[in-house]
Amino acid sequence: MSLKVDGLTVYYQSLRGDVKAVDGATFEIADGEIMGLAGESGCGKSTLGKSLVRMDARMRYVDGRVELDGKELPVWDDRKMNPYRFKHVSIIPQYALSALNPTRKIGTMATELLASRDIPLNGVVDEFKRRLKIVGLPEDVLERFPIELSGGMKQRVVMVLSSLLDPSLLIADEVTSALDVSTQRAVSELLVEFRDRGFVKSMIVITHDLSVLYQIADTILVMYAGKLAEKAPAETVVHAPAHPYTRMLISSLPEVGVRYAEKRLIGIPGRPPSLLEPPTGCRFKTRCPLAFEKCAEEPPFVEVAPGQAAACWKATA
């Protein structure tokens, strides 16, 4: 088991109270697994991804445990978490296009970063160059400023840098959403290649674009309103979803798996509930066509079929 998350609960602090963005997330990721993390915007998927690496100032750890390669990750403690970052768990942020310091040459920035982590430079820098070549970038990008690179180039630089120390877990947060369709494809293929070459052991790919996940992910985890809805192998999620939300999500996509979707998730009537004071019971019940009395109780996230887990009374019934 590469990653084991147990009951992770993370809130967002706002002046009006806590936004319960991740509520009791429990799942595992196997070595070599690429797990897709999907859901509508605001469902907590990015919060979940971020909380595994670094919680920003407004995020508050509430409960739960995270284990990576058998060791506990101190996600609640920003300081203690530091030694694990980059080396064991790393992230390609959502904002990859602006993630590079605009006034530093890429090479300088990288070496300063490495030096600040007390990582010996010899070897690593060469490896950096080699990997840049693999993703199709000339060596001299190291001598350039971010402003001199195109969006796709910056994206790839960040991918290489984030995975440079061969982390056990890499979180790729919406890496494709800001790119055009052809670059999207190339970038997603690179993620798979990174895994295949062993640059990363396992990966969480966060996106709202299920079609991308269908292409590259081994398993897919669907979240709704801060709760896990369903986790299953990609094929299963697309073809035999257990959770009504997943089903609606899939059906809103045109011809899944045939070509990349150009349309965003629309199609589901109603709006997700406010996470300031989420409703009791199943959070999807107000939009769910199958909702019944039982849904007033919170459904557990349990295995409904081999390799497939879901949180829905109808799926377990």
Partner: protein
């Protein structure tokens, strides 16, 4: 980069031409006749007044048509000739300005640089650190809202008049003449501290606030978050944020020069410091048109040059000016 510099320089050239023209026009089109003013000052006997008028009209070059005066003004300007002072006729204005300039520079340059340095450091230190922020920030606001002359008066009252630690006025002891000696240097510093402090403290507050606010933006910027996500220590994150926050501050430095010069004028007056500020007030009180004109031109040229220097330096500091000419990212 060259386009950037060209644009800058052309703005400065236009500014300079406009400023010189305004400057030339002021004594000529404003009410009041400088030569009659001089005659009044001289307490010239009425009998001599006609003779003297024509003598000085010629001496100041007012006896040629306006357009020619304008051209002559430019021609003289390029030879560093700003005309003759009225109150101190026939001392050249340039000589008076050059005499006062070292004192003003001795106040201004350290005050600008040290306040910029210290203000930025302290502002950066205070940002996102609660206790420090809650002390530095209010203090900085008080400082930046303080009129320099009032701070000068307070410093003079407390440290000079009441505690007698420092002299209230002048640039050095009356027993001395400017020279390169330890005694003169000490006397000079002794006189320099208070006016310098008045300028320094007010400017310091402004820079500290500016940096504090800027660096918060930078610390919230994506690249800072990315660095932190990769486990970079706070030290590195803050260093990057500081450097980037410094860039708009440097721009601010160029633009604040005018304000600092203004501050120096009032502070010099409070401490009777023999720099351009005191000279300006004397010139105004005595309607020494050519001196006022010269000082004004001098200040503008100085500020323009400083701006240009900062612009050029900026090209080296901020890579985006060098490579970013393709437009917005």
């Amino acid at each position: 980069m060259w386009r950037y510099l060209f644009r800058k320089v052309s703005i400065y050239v236009v500014t300079f031409v406009v400023a010189v023209s305004i400057d030339w026009a002021i004594p000529r089109f404003m009410p009041g006749d400088p030569i009659q003013g001089l005659l009044s000052r001289m307490q010239a006997q009425p009998q001599a007044s006609e003779e003297l008028t024509s003598f000085y009209t010629e001496a100041f070059g007012f006896d040629v048509p306006l357009w020619k005066q304008y051209l002559n003004f430019w021609a003289a300007l390029f030879q560093g000739d700003l005309g003759l002072s009225i109150t101190n006729y026939p001392i050249p204005v340039t000589e008076l300005i050059m005499g006062a300039l070292p004192y003003t520079l001795a106040l201004l340059v350290p005050a600008i640089l040290l306040s910029f340095w210290a203000g930025n450091k302290v502002g950066a230190l205070a940002a996102r650190r609660k206790t420090l922020d809650n002390t530095v920030l209010p203090m900085s606001y008080v400082l930046t809202a303080t009129p320099q002359m009032w701070l000068g008066i307070i410093l003079a009252w407390v440290f000079a008049s009441s505690l007698a630690l420092f002299p209230v006025s002048g640039a050095y002891g009356f027993a001395l003449q400017p020279e390169w000696s330890v005694e003169f240097a000490r006397s000079f510093l002794h006189h320099w501290i208070l006016p310098f402090s008045a300028l320094f403290l007010v400017a310091f507050g402004g820079w500290a606030i500016g940096m504090r606010n800027l660096i918060i933006y930078e610390l919230e910027a994506d690249y800072s978050n990315y660095l932190a996500s990769l486990g970079a220590p706070t030290r590195l994150v803050r260093k990057y944020a500081y450097r980037n926050a410094l860039l708009p501050q440097i721009t601010g430095l160029a633009l604040a020069l005018g304000a600092v010069v203004a501050g120096a004028i009032v502070v010099e007056i409070v401490f009777s410091y023999p720099g351009l500020g005191t000279l300006t007030l004397n010139a105004i009180e005595n309607r020494d048109y050519f001196l006022i004109q010269g000082i004004f031109l001098f200040l503008i040229t100085g500020v323009l040059i400083a701006n240009l220097v900062i612009d050029i330096a900026y090209v080296f500091i901020d890579p985006r000016t060098r490579v970013g000419m393709q437009g917005g990212a």
